[in-house]
């Protein structure tokens, strides 16, 4: 399902008998002249300085991580999926005619206006977070130190129980290369393509935490070499007492940056841990409390109300405001994105935080961002409202200039982060719901009360500047581009 939708206005107007329209005050990109209290099928998307270029329904599968890879002269989107739903545990793949557990969608997005669905690789049987194949990373064989130069490798989770590597050189006909299994709660991995080092979020069966990190050398994807297990003291096998918050995902600055930023917690008790990468890889590996502490430089605790889903490093950012200062003109910044878990604002707001980690043993939160709830009556629309994730591409087109945040029922939000002390929203796009959009329910006196709303789950960008948003509630993939003043922030031609 593809299409092009040109918006004449930057702010869409939805008139519906099911919508409650109020007059809103405000300024900036989030100022909306009407507040739409519920989405209806057939209504146009809501947008400011962003427009829809193309879309694909992803076979109505709940989507998590998109990774966009420039592959020869093609651009391929690899999209991980959560498990199926109670109503449709295994959606039918129209290409095979078979019911298949949600896995990985492979879509050719070379022409973003006409994305072409190439292949669905089934994942683990299971519903919601229990099945599917949520995570995807991709490396070229020619970049990996010991890879097959003709191969393109896709690392994915297989449900909660394994990591898999596929050769996707022919993205329509992928082949399984290897599998690391016997795990529980695999999740948000990071893979350094230039070294092959992979930080695999897993649950080793004997560890006391649901999720910890297994570090592998995947420079030769056909022959994975385990380097070590890593977690926090208290999580290791045989420990007693309180169990520290579980990891959600790391992002490495690679051998040049020599840092790995680990995010712990999802929506509660979070913190950021700054790790010396070299010490992590070469230090003593036995999981004793001392050995686990050895590579740690510092931890920055967050409020118990929030967790760290994504910890996106932006090192050596020039800060215009500090340009004339004799010291501290450049700052190392980590953008922390929390994940909202509960529907209809039933927990403290999960949002975006910017931390200055220049002085590594004294990291400090310097600013925050959330979508104003009143700008869209988002607590009333249904489903989750709050942040979940950001783009993680470090391609120059947006890196250190703009960030894109998946904000569930508030869609994708485009932030000008050139001054991370004062992030500013410069655009947004809330996709329309479709017949495939799944309901989200809350308990009222023991009974489900359900609503249907967009649930923009994850977002990624490519080197061309397209923005890829995917939906947790089965609405598919939306390919977007910036318009108007938001393009100027990134230095894109008007």
């Amino acid at each position: 399902m593809t299409g092009r939708l040109k918006l004449a206005k930057s702010v869409s107007v939805v008139l519906s008998t099911f919508s409650v329209i109020l007059i809103a005050a405000g300024s900036g990109a989030h100022a909306q002249s009407e507040i739409i209290k519920s989405q209806v099928i057939g209504a146009p998307p809501e947008a400011s300085n962003m427009k829809l270029v193309g879309s694909n329904d992803l076979q109505a599968r709940s989507a998590y991580q998109p990774t966009i890879h420039h592959q020869g002269d093609r651009w391929i989107a690899y999209i991980g999926h959560h498990g199926g739903t109670d109503d449709i545990p295994d959606p039918v793949n129209p290409m095979t005619g078979k019911a298949e557990p949600n896995g990985t969608s492979i879509v050719d997005v070379t022409d973003p206006a006409h994305p072409k669905y190439l292949r669905h690789i089934p994942g683990q049987e299971g519903k919601y977070e229990s099945g599917g194949a949520q995570m995807v990373r991709v490396c070229d064989g020619k970049q990996l130190p010991k890879g097959d130069k003709n191969a393109v490798y896709m690392l994915r989770t297989f449900g909660s129980e394994a990591h898999e590597i596929w050769n996707v050189a022919d993205p329509a006909n992928p082949s399984l290369i290897t599998r690391i299994d016997g795990l529980k709660d695999t999740h948000k991995n990071w893979w350094e393509c230039e070294t092959g080092i992979a930080f695999l979020v897993s649950g080793a069966p004997d560890w006391r935490t649901r999720r910890m990190t297994q570090i592998y050398d995947l420079s030769d994807p056909a022959h994975p070499v385990k380097i070590r297990d890593f977690g926090l003291p208290g999580q290791e096998p045989g420990a007693t007492g309180a169990v520290p918050t579980e990891v959600h995902g790391p992002i490495s600055a690679g051998p040049q940056g020599n840092r790995v930023y680990f995010g712990y917690g999802t929506d509660k008790g979070g913190f950021v841990q700054i790790i010396d990468r070299e010490k992590l890889l070469t230090g003593p590996k036995e999981p004793t409390p001392d050995n686990l502490r050895f590579p740690e430089i510092s931890r920055m605790p967050m409020s118990a109300f929030n967790g760290a889903h994504t910890t996106f490093p932006m090192l050596k950012m020039p800060i215009a405001e500090f340009a004339k200062d004799k010291d501290g003109k450049e700052r190392d910044i980590v953008m922390i994105v929390d994940e909202e878990i509960l529907n209809e604002c039933a927990e403290p707001r999960q949002m975006v935080w910017f931390a200055d980690v220049t002085v590594e043993n004294r990291p400090m939160v310097i600013s925050s961002y959330t979508v104003p709830e009143a700008s869209g009556a988002f607590c009333d629309r249904g489903g989750r409202f709050g942040s979940h994730s950001s783009n993680e591409s470090m391609a120059p087109v947006y890196y250190k200039k703009m960030a894109f945040i998946a904000f569930f029922n508030a869609g994708v939000r485009a932030l000008d982060i050139r001054d991370p002390y004062h992030p500013v929203e410069v655009g947004y796009f809330i996709p329309s719901i479709t017949a495939a959009t799944d309901k989200r329910c809350v308990k009222i006196d023991g009974k489900d009360r359900c609503k249907v709303a967009i649930q923009t789950n994850n977002v990624e960008t490519d080197e061309r500047g397209y923005i890829y948003a995917v939906d947790r509630a089965n609405t598919g993939l939306h390919i977007l581009e910036l318009t108007g003043p938001a393009r100027a922030v990134a230095g894109l031609p008007q």
Partner: protein, 179 residues
């Protein structure tokens, strides 16, 4: 005016109903009485705390109970003892606790889960017995932790009898079901 009267009536009925439940738990005949939640604010809203100091409870036992909405594996529930270590609020009292034995399965308020006993060392060096309980319904947890000075079996028995009382069962069910 009519709307105001209706609202006032609803509020009055709800308040009376809530108070009735509250007082029932406070003054039940087994010696349990409700006390203030003694812990500082953390990631979860405060729960309810109770103390029994009669011989029927085998000496002083305190029970702390609260829901943790959206904190459970929706499919597997409370599947192992590590989960009880992680979620049962033992760390509110002290971060230093050692399990006395493998835990076991349990059902509280029609919710299945696990229970485990611990040796709890407090900050002042004193030692207590603690019993951690975690049960779940769909993606939501209900956790309780009991603390006493007696042997683990006695603390466990007293805590479970209390948690299985009609008033507590009613409250726990409502807390999980969004009542």
């Amino acid at each position: 005016m009519r709307r105001w009267l209706l609202t006032a009536s609803v509020v009055a009925i709800c308040t009376a109903s809530a108070l009735a439940g509250y007082q029932h738990v406070r003054s039940n005949g087994d010696g349990w009485r409700e006390i203030a939640w003694p812990f500082p604010r953390d990631a979860w809203p405060a729960g309810r705390a109770f103390r029994c100091a009669t011989e029927a409870c085998g000496g002083e036992v305190e029970v702390y109970v609260r829901p943790k909405i959206g904190f459970c594996n929706c499919d597997s529930g409370v599947a192992d003892d590590d989960e009880v270590d992680r979620v049962a609020d033992l760390d509110l009292m002290s971060e230093r606790f050692v399990p006395l034995a493998p835990g076991g399965v349990i059902e509280v308020a029609d919710m299945a889960g696990r229970l485990r006993s611990y040796d709890l060392r407090m900050q002042d060096g004193s030692r207590h017995t603690a019993v951690g309980i975690a049960v779940s319904k769909h993606c939501d947890l209900l956790v309780a932790v009991a603390k006493g000075r007696g042997e683990a079996g006695g603390v466990q028995r007293a805590a479970l009898e209390f948690l299985k009382s009609i008033a507590m069962k009613k409250w726990m069910t409502a807390a999980i079901d969004g009542g």
